[in-house]
Symmetry: C2
Subunit: 181 residues, 2 copies
DNA sequence: CACAGATATCTCGATGTCAAGATAATGGAC
DNA sequence: GTCCATTATCTTGACATCGAGATATCTGTG
């Protein structure tokens, strides 16, 4: 039971360690041999890896005094370019949270002086959220730290493998990102 | 700005749609041309895809009257096989939550009659959480539904691509799962 | 056999998130 | 121009999670 199987990567002939999902899949095959659990090989790994990444990021950001959610909002604004402002709605689609959550986030960031809320001159329902100078600096610093950490995690893979992985993931994410989803 | 680039998968010559991460990376290259943001191509996609999957799962489970966190706990017990019992500590490592969270989850599942708490006969500090018959049935039903949904999501990829994707992800998750992480 | 450190679980307070609904403004049909 | 469906944002209440600390038990050392 739970035989130690070693997986061999066909392109590089590198031996890879077993992970929790291997154990999870083996357990399902034992308990529910009637089911095809192949989908879990991909999607359970995505979910678990995301959870690990969340933890690692929380740690990396704490050095810059930022929470992951703060980073997400500040960098979305930073990426928008001068004058670093977006509507709450645009921030929603980028961060995948609900509108109530975003209102709350903006409130807290505004209280910390990292963003400010401005009325949208062309739509009186609307609001524009703008990064302050300090917000911009904090975002820039945290981004550099994050990239260092992510590079270390990705060192497991060759450049070609990273590129292949990105392409495969894109095929899965594109439907969610483009269809209203 | 934001030129519509189309990505071509080198192995299948299939054209892939752009996704949010493509836009995100393009924006960073414009705003911070001094930084190498290649890591985001992989890891931002992992995080975003996980978020999309969370939403889709919440929807799929609601048909069976389960929350995602309930599914995670019940299926961990289900996979353990007869007599379907694990310690809270074992449940922690499988679900990647903190001990306080797990205590709370077990309380709520017990109140719903899906699990029961038993004293561990061999360690008086310890507890064993056991699946009830109803808990087992609910877990089995929800799993079948989840697999159907996941198969639909993965239909974007060929069998070979799914296998390749699983192998690449395993290389990234294995260090987290094996080193204390 | 006593003790110290490790381990297993639980308690508690703070906080972030979600879902649903409220409010306000827009824009196209007629 | 008026109306209605749509859009944009905010409000609210319920709830799940985390982190730090408390308690009880185990285990190895001397």
């Amino acid at each position: 039971m739970d035989v130690k199987r070693l997986h061999v990567d066909t392109t590089t002939t590198l031996i890879t360690m077993e992970d929790e999902v291997d154990r999870l899949v083996a357990a399902w095959r034992r308990e529910r041999p009637d089911l095809d659990v192949e989908p879990l090989e991909v999607l359970s790994r995505v979910s678990r890896l995301a959870r690990h990444l969340d933890r690692a990021r929380r740690l990396a950001f704490s050095e810059h005094g930022l929470e992951p959610w703060e980073f997400d909002v500040l960098t979305a604004l930073r990426r928008a370019g001068t004058p670093y402002q977006l509507s709450p709605g645009q921030l929603l689609t980028q961060t995948l949270v609900t509108s109530g959550t975003m209102t709350n986030r903006i409130d807290r960031l505004a209280k910390k002086g990292l963003v400010e809320r401005l009325p949208d001159p062309s739509d009186r329902r609307g609001v524009l959220v703008r990064l302050t100078d300090e917000g911009r600096d904090r975002a820039d610093q945290a981004l550099a730290g994050l990239l260092d950490q992510e590079r270390a995690i990705l060192a497991e893979l060759s450049r070609a493998q990273r590129s292949e992985l990105a392409a495969l993931l894109r095929q899965l994410t594109a439907p969610f990102d483009n269809i209203p989803g």
